[in-house]
Amino acid sequence: MKLLSRTEELLLLAIWRLQDNAYTVTIQKQLQTVTGKTWSFGALFVSLDRLVQRGYLTSDLGEATPDRGGRRRRMYLLTAAGKQALLEIRRIETAMWTGLPDLIFSGPST
C-alpha cells in the first residue's frame, strides 16, 4: 500500500477528529489552528478529491444553510481503509522514532 503524504495524513486526522462535523470549512479551520498556516481552498479541494478517489474517505451531501447562500455541504467521513492507512503511517513513524539516540545533545558540538 502506498504511504500517505504528510498533507493527506493531516487531512485524515482532522476529519477523524471532527467526526460528524467534517466539511471543508471546519477542516481548514482545524488545520489552521494546529499548524498556524493558511491552507488555500483550492489545495484542500484537490487533496480531498484524491482521498475520496483512493477510498480513504466517503463524502455525503449535508444540509443547506442560509449562510452558505442556500448551498449544501459536502460532509467527509473516514472509511475503514482510511483508518487503516492512518494506523499504518503511525506505526511506521513510531518505529522510526523509537530507540533513536538523543537528538539534542549528540549532534556535532557547537
Binding site: Y23, T24, V25, Q28, S40, F41, G42, A43, F45, V46, D49, L61, A64, T65, D67, R68, G69, R71, R72, R73, R74
Partner: protein, 551 residues
C-alpha cells in the same frame, strides 16, 4: 440585514477553470467563509479574500500549463527541423516557391506603399491645396500655371487660408560650376515655401536664407553632382536666367534628400526676387497664367472649401481671367486640388510638378502579388498532401502513443511556420537583390532603408505567420484527423482527392497559365514596339532642346 453575495464573476471563473473540482458544495464552502470574514472584517476584505482564493487555485495550474506548452513547442520545433532536413527536395521546392512569392509581395508592397503615400510626408498634407487656372481651348482644361500675383492675393482676399506660396519653374537653364556648363532646372521660391512643405535643410539651416538675392539652396542630388564630396556651403556657381548672361550665386544651404514619392522636386532653388529678371518686370503684376508658376495654399483646420472656391471664382472675375473661358460657364474658374490627390489626378496638366500616375498599376501589381502568394500557398498544401502517404504512418504512430489531435495540429502548424519564416528570410534577401532591377523597370528609386523598422518587421512576420497558418491548415486539419487503426492496418485510401482538392489544383494551374500568358504577351508587345518600322532610322536622329541662353 441582507449580506452581499460573493463575487459572481469569481464564481464563474472558478467554475470555468476547474469544472471537475468545483461544484455547488465547494462554492458553498467558499461562501460560508466569505460571509464569516465579511461579518468580522468587512465585505471589502472578504471580497479580496475570495479573489485571493481564485488566484491561489489558478497559479499552480497556470505555471504547469505554461511549462508543458513550452516543452511541447520545443519538441514540435525539433521534429519540424528533422522532417525538413530529411525531405530535402520537398523543403527546397517549398522554400523556393514561398520565398519568390514573398519577394514579389515585398516589392509590390514597396511600390504600392510609395504610390499610395505620395506627398503625404508633408505635415497637415490634407490642408494643403494647389490652385490651377481653368482654360477653354478646344474643350475645358486645367492649367497648372497660375498668374504670379495670385499667391499674394490669396492670403488677403480668400477666407480660411493660413499660408500661401508659389513655386516657379525655370526649365532648361545653364549652370556653370568652375569650367563645367550643365543644363538644369531652376525653381524660384520664397521662404514661405518651407512653411508649407517639409523639405528640411541640412544642418538645420534657416530657410529664410532663400530670400537673399543671389543665394541658392541645392538639393542633395545637385550638391553631389556639382560639388561631389566638397563642402558646398559658400561655394560659387553661375546661373544663366536669361539670354546667356551668367550671374554669380553663392550656395547658402543644402536640402536633405527629397523623398522618392514627392510630386514636388527641385535641384536648385533661388529667390523669387529674380522673377522679374527671368520673365520681365511686367509679369510680376500681370494676371495672366503664362509663366510656369504653381500656387499652393494651406487652409486653417476645418476650412470651408466652398467659401474658398467662391472667393477664388471672385478673384478670377475681378482680374479678367474669365476671358480664357471663351464665354463658357465654368463652376470652378480657379480649381483647387488637395496635395495628396495630385499624384493620381489627371485633371491638371502637370509641367511643374511630377507627371500624374495611374493608380491602376498599383492595383494590378498588388493583385499579381496576391495571386502569386496564393499559388505559393496552394503549392505548399499540395506538396503536403503528396507527403501525406509517408506521414500517415507517423500520424498513426503518434496517435497510438497518445498524442492528442491538438498536439498533432500544433506539430504540423509549427512545421509550416518554420518553413514560412525560413522563406521570409530568403525572400527578403531576394527582394533586396532584385530591387535595382525592379526600380529600373518601374522607373522608381525605391529603397528598403525607410522600411527597416520594428513596425515593418512586425507586419512581415505577421504576414509570414498568416501564410503559414493558412497554408499549414490542410495538413494540420486533415492529416491530424487520420484514424490510427485504419492507417496502421494500411487501409487508408490515398490519392482519392476531394472535390476541394481538385478545385484548388485547377485554380492553381489556371492562375499560373494566366500569369505566364500575360508575361509572354507583354514581352512580345514590347518587342513589337521596339522593332516596329517607324519610317525613319532612329539611330541617326538626335533631338536636342536648346537651353535658355545657349544662343
Amino acid at each position: 440585514m441582507p449580506h452581499p453575495p460573493p463575487p459572481r464573476l469569481a464564481e464563474t471563473v472558478l467554475r470555468a477553470l476547474f469544472p471537475d473540482e468545483v461544484d455547488e458544495t465547494r462554492l458553498g464552502d467558499l461562501e460560508e467563509v466569505y460571509h464569516h470574514i465579511g461579518l468580522r472584517a468587512g465585505y471589502v476584505r472578504a471580497r479580496q479574500w475570495y479573489w485571493m482564493q481564485v488566484v491561489r487555485a489558478f497559479l499552480p495550474s497556470l505555471s504547469q500549463r505554461f511549462a508543458w506548452t513550452f516543452v511541447m513547442l520545443r519538441n514540435y520545433l525539433h521534429t519540424a527541423f528533422r522532417h525538413l532536413r530529411r525531405h530535402t527536395i520537398y523543403t527546397v521546392i517549398n522554400v523556393f516557391g514561398l520565398s519568390v512569392a514573398l519577394a514579389v509581395a515585398v516589392l509590390a508592397y514597396l511600390f504600392i506603399h510609395s504610390e499610395m503615400t505620395y506627398d503625404r510626408f508633408h505635415p497637415a498634407y490634407d490642408q494643403i491645396y494647389r490652385v490651377g487656372t481653368a482654360i477653354y481651348f478646344d474643350g475645358l482644361d486645367t492649367w497648372e500655371n497660375t498668374p504670379y500675383p495670385l499667391g499674394d492675393a490669396l492670403a488677403t482676399t480668400v477666407p480660411d487660408i493660413a499660408h500661401a506660396t508659389r513655386l516657379t519653374s525655370l526649365p532648361d537653364c545653364l549652370v556653370r560650376v568652375e569650367d563645367q556648363r550643365l543644363e538644369t532646372n531652376i525653381h524660384l521660391v520664397n521662404a514661405s515655401f518651407f512653411d508649407l512643405f517639409a523639405f528640411p535643410l541640412a544642418g538645420g539651416a534657416d530657410p529664410a536664407l532663400i530670400d537673399e538675392p543671389n543665394t541658392v539652396i541645392l538639393s542633395d542630388a545637385a550638391r553631389l553632382r556639382y560639388f561631389g564630396t566638397q563642402d558646398p556651403i559658400g561655394q560659387r556657381l553661375d546661373l544663366s536666367l536669361q539670354n546667356g548672361s551668367f550671374s554669380p550665386f553663392i550656395v547658402a544651404a543644402v536640402a536633405e534628400p527629397i523623398p522618392e514619392n514627392s510630386s514636388i522636386t527641385f535641384d536648385i532653388l533661388i529667390s523669387e526676387a529674380h522673377y522679374g529678371t527671368a520673365f520681365g518686370e511686367a509679369a510680376l503684376t500681370e494676371w495672366f497664367p503664362k509663366s510656369r508658376t504653381a500656387t499652393f495654399f494651406k487652409t486653417t483646420p476645418n476650412a470651408n472649401l466652398a467659401a474658398i472656391q467662391t472667393a477664388l471664382n471672385g478673384l478670377s472675375e475681378a482680374h479678367g481671367l474669365d476671358r480664357f473661358l471663351a464665354g463658357h460657364e465654368v463652376a470652378e474658374k480657379l480649381p483647387i486640388e488637395r496635395l495628396d490627390q495630385v499624384h493620381f489626378s489627371t485633371r491638371f496638366t502637370n509641367r511643374i510638378l511630377q507627371p500624374a500616375a495611374d493608380p491602376a498599376y498599383a492595383y494590378i501589381l498588388g493583385g499579381v502579388a496576391l495571386l502569386i502568394l496564393l499559388i505559393a500557398g496552394i503549392n505548399f498544401m499540395n506538396l503536403a498532401v503528396g507527403m501525406s502517404a509517408s506521414r500517415a504512418t507517423e500520424v498513426g504512430m503518434r496517435k497510438v502513443l497518445g498524442a492528442h489531435r491538438g498536439q498533432l495540429m500544433g506539430q504540423f502548424w509549427t512545421e509550416a511556420l518554420v518553413l514560412t519564416l525560413l522563406s521570409l528570410g530568403l525572400g527578403m534577401g531576394l527582394a533586396a537583390g532584385l530591387l535595382p532591377t525592379f526600380n529600373a523597370l518601374a522607373d522608381k528609386t525605391l529603397t528598403l532603408q525607410p522600411y527597416l523598422t520594428l513596425e515593418t518587421a512586425g507586419v512581415l512576420v505577421g504576414l509570414a505567420l498568416l501564410l503559414g497558418l493558412v497554408a499549414g491548415s490542410y495538413p494540420a486539419l486533415v492529416l491530424s484527423n487520420f484514424r490510427p487503426v485504419a492507417v496502421l492496418k494500411g487501409k487508408l485510401r490515398l490519392g482519392n482527392r476531394s472535390r476541394f482538392g481538385q478545385a484548388i489544383m485547377v485554380f492553381q494551374f489556371a492562375v499560373s497559365v494566366f500569369l505566364i500568358a500575360c508575361t509572354l504577351i507583354m514581352a512580345r508587345q514590347l518587342r513589337h514596339v521596339s522593332q516596329l518600322d517607324l519610317g525613319y532610322d532612329a539611330e541617326l536622329l538626335v533631338l536636342q532642346d536648346l537651353p535658355r541662353g545657349a544662343d
